[in-house]
Symmetry: C2
Subunit: 114 residues, 2 copies
Amino acid sequence: MKDFRHQNRLYYSPVEFAMNYIGGTWKMPILVALREGPVRYGDLKKSISHITDKMLITQLRDLEEKNMVTRKAYAEKPPRVDYALTERAKQALSVIDALHAYGAFLMKEEEITL
Amino acid sequence: MKDFRHQNRLYYSPVEFAMNYIGGTWKMPILVALREGPVRYGDLKKSISHITDKMLITQLRDLEEKNMVTRKAYAEKPPRVDYALTERAKQALSVIDALHAYGAFLMKEEEITL
DNA sequence: CAGGATCCACGCTGATACTG
DNA sequence: CAGTATCAGCGTGGATCCTG
């Protein structure tokens, strides 16, 4: 596979490129949390354990910039903001599911019990 | 998803666990390079562009320890060593393919041309 | 073919404080 | 409620250079 550049970063393969969109500790949990439809910031935070405001915000901003989520703010009080998946992000869900299944398979092999 | 520990490391999800086995810059390229069967060290290095001896060795050791590859040394001269995928690693290939496809999809959307 | 010695950047974390 | 701002620290992956 030939390597390529994007926004001045070098990638060795499409896999590496994909990981830029869904990799890291928090992006997949966020995408999964949004799978059923738009979710408010507060609910998002509640549904993703261990995440801090800081990480949630930075990851949401990053995902927005990558066109993986859309942000909608409503002029209400109290203020309401929700996030939703874009089409390209929805296509990532099956990949995440596959990764999840493979992880579960490995855990079983390693005899990890929850 | 409840979190869990393995070898004294904390994981938040099976996905994170899976990434420990196939994540990082080099593990997937290595696994893919071994997909058709055992490959010798030298050929492995030739087929994976940009990789250094250091990284190749470290990652192979790590994969061995995780039971993802097996190492076989032959008492010949010149010495010969080859590496092969284990069953659990073969099961990762479809996941890697899915990731690859998703990456290619994103690249197309971003209009990246090789 | 295998590795030691450095070194650095990056991703993530933690603490704390503040805002319309 | 839904963030913003900032400073510090840490572990790890990876790069570079060198050796046998």
